[in-house]
Amino acid sequence: MTVAQGIGVGERQVAGDQGEPSAPEVSRRGRRLTPYLLLLPGLGWLLLFFIVPIATLFSTSTQTRPPGSEIGVYVQTFRWANYVDSLSEYTTQFGRSFLYAFLATGLALAISYPLAYAIAFKSGRWRNLLLVLVIAPFFTSFLLRTIAWKQILADDAWVADGLRRLHLLSQSGHIINSPTAVVLGITYNFLPFMILPIYASLERVDPRFMEAAGDLYSNGITTFRKVTFPLSMPGVVAGTLLTFIPAAGDYVNSALLGNRNTTMVGNAIDSRFLRVVDYPTAAVLSVTLMAAILLLVGLYIRRSGTEELV
């Protein structure tokens, strides 16, 4: 083995020696440029569909409507007070967005972790089938599935009926058109984004670490607390981010499953932009939502200390 390795190394060195001097300057520069050339399409895409829209958004957020102009015409006046006005008007919606997103993320985590754990370690030959089932909802549209929830949670459907029978819901109470329905809807819609990263993370945990923990006096629960769970943290962080971020910006669930008192920032942006044609306010809300999410995510990643694990 050593001999073979020695020969292998030798050959590589010989090849390298021949290659270096004969390689002209140009091709070497070309080699250095290759990574950048490969980045080009991606950068172009990013510029066109991300940087440009964001710049436009920023710019719109400080525009005003000139007196006497038509509806939907705005000009740049750098009116920073737009931020103060809009944010004071929509503080509740912001609070609600983050609250709902937080609750839905927590709920999704509580459902997903045991599920992902079972699929990764206990499912045996059913594993692939279970994974397909996790992804299966994606085969129909997000909107359709949320509408389906509208029916499931409806006043005369079995869920509400059952809860009433169990006296968990008052005779006149409903689930539909309530904050509960919105949070449940969000939880449901983003569940796969929580399950899959956690599953991937758990799947990668080498069972030998668990054996080693057992060998070092840990019972099943301690092994999970001290070894399996910490090693699956990258998946938990990825899953919570993938759930929380879109959940905070969601408006479909609130629109379909909520009522007037469940509006989230997403709904406000939607109505300001499409119905009232008040572009600056919509832009202010979007920019603020984005900034708030970035801030929260940054803090979260730092606190969970998983930069190196991810």
Binding site: M1, T2, D206, R208, F209, E211, A212, A213, G214, D215, L216, Y217, S218, N219, T222, K226, V227, P230, L231, M233, L309
Partner: protein
């Protein structure tokens, strides 16, 4: 350290482990005295790891019992056994630093003075300064020592080492062998060391068990195994042996008189491990003297004439010759390099002679090539 749990023998009785119908370990019985350095030696796939895993509790025997001292631990959970393992892959926890890795077992048992214990263990493996690093920031040899410290710090009754040196290069391996031996002497725990490197087993262990397809071929100290193998498998697996077919034609005093293709040889009766009349006699290559074709040998020495050198390889310390005998068998002879005479070229006619006391005898029905290792054992992950 924690309570001294040492001082208890490890006893395996008729242990069998089947995977489906395949018996990875087949009716294995073994007693390992407390405080000894025991080596399980055998080729890849012979059941060494499976045996260790059953002792550690990571695998349940299909049949048989395992005792540590007087406790029956056959079905005990791994975390309830006074056993720790140094895994072949080390299995250091990647999310914990070296200190926490070593402290892991102590913390689980609620030990006192964890800091001192861990520092002492890291000192023992000479890694005192690296406590704050993560496993990924250590070299392979350092990781191996952390794995050792993590196990030793718990003072288990039995320490299991599953080819812990397999991933290291030769130099580091030799160094770690000496280190391991030193640590074992220092802490006085029972070490069960699994390896398929026979040299490693011989240099380190008090007792070696040679395993072959799920059972133990022979058990003894290194000298016993080397000088008096009981089977052709052991003779060939542990070092190299020349095994020659012989027929007993009589006895003279303490010696068996043998016929080998017309030559008269002798072997001590006491060194016949098995067999009756038809034997395989063995002699180690370094015990044979290579002489001129008509060399006069001491009266009672065994001699085989009309040999022809077919191959000579000079290794520095010695020259390894292959000599073909008239009946077309090739015999290996190691001639120590004493600086007199050159290397014999292939084609040279020679005679072979050796002291009959260096001859061992096995049953003639055995396969003379059992356990032959064609190449240097290659470490398998």
């Amino acid at each position: 350290m924690v309570e001294a749990t040492g001082g208890r023998d490890l006893r395996l009785e008729h242990v069998t482990k089947r995977f489906g119908t395949f018996a990875a370990v087949d009716d294995l019985s073994l007693t390992i005295p407390s405080g000894s350095f025991f080596a399980l030696l055998g080729p890849s796939g012979c059941g060494k790891t499976t045996t260790l895993r059953m002792v550690a509790g990571l695998e349940e025997p299909t049949a048989g019992t395992i005792h540590i001292g007087t406790d029956d631990v056959t079905y005990a959970k791994p975390y309830k056994r006074p056993v720790n393992t140094v895994f072949q892959s080390y299995a250091l926890f990647p999310h914990l630093d070296i200190f926490e890795n070593v402290a892991f077992g102590l913390r689980r048992r609620g030990a006192k003075q964890i800091k001192q214990e861990v520092e002492k263990a890291l000192e023992l493996v000479e890694l005192g300064g690296l406590a704050k690093r993560k496993p990924a920031q250590l070299s392979g040899g350092q990781q191996q020592r952390v794995a050792l410290a993590r196990a030793i710090v718990n003072r288990p009754a039995v320490l299991l080492l599953d080819e812990p040196l397999g991933a290291l290069d030769l130099k580091l391996r030799r160094q770690m062998q000496i280190e391991l031996k030193r640590i074992q002497t220092e802490v006085g725990l029972t070490f069960v060391h699994v390896t398929h490197d026979q040299e490693e087993a011989m240099t380190m262990a008090d007792t070696i068990a040679v395993m072959n397809s799920g059972h133990i071929e022979q058990l003894g100290n290194p000298t016993q195994l080397y000088e008096s193998p009981n089977t052709a498998y052991v003779a060939n697996f542990l070092g190299q042996s020349n095994l020659i077919r012989a027929t007993v034609v009589g006895t003279s005093g303490d010696d068996l008189l043998l016929d080998v293709h017309g030559s008269r040889l002798a072997a001590p009766v006491s060194r016949r491990a098995s067999g009756d009349k038809e034997l395989l006699i063995g002699v180690r290559p370094e015990k044979i003297h290579l002489g001129a074709p008509d060399e006069v040998v001491p009266d009672n020495h065994n001699v085989l004439r009309d040999g022809v050198v077919t191959d000579a390889s000079f290794t520095g310390v010695s020259t390894q010759y292959l000599v073909r005998l008239p009946w077309d068998q090739e015999v290996m002879v190691f001639v120590q390099n004493l600086g007199v005479g050159g290397v014999l070229v292939p084609g040279t006619k020679v005679s072979l002679s050796w002291n009959p006391a260096h001859t061992f005898a096995l049953d003639g029905s055995e396969d003379a090539l059992a356990g032959v290792q064609l190449e240097e054992p290659v470490s398998v992950g």
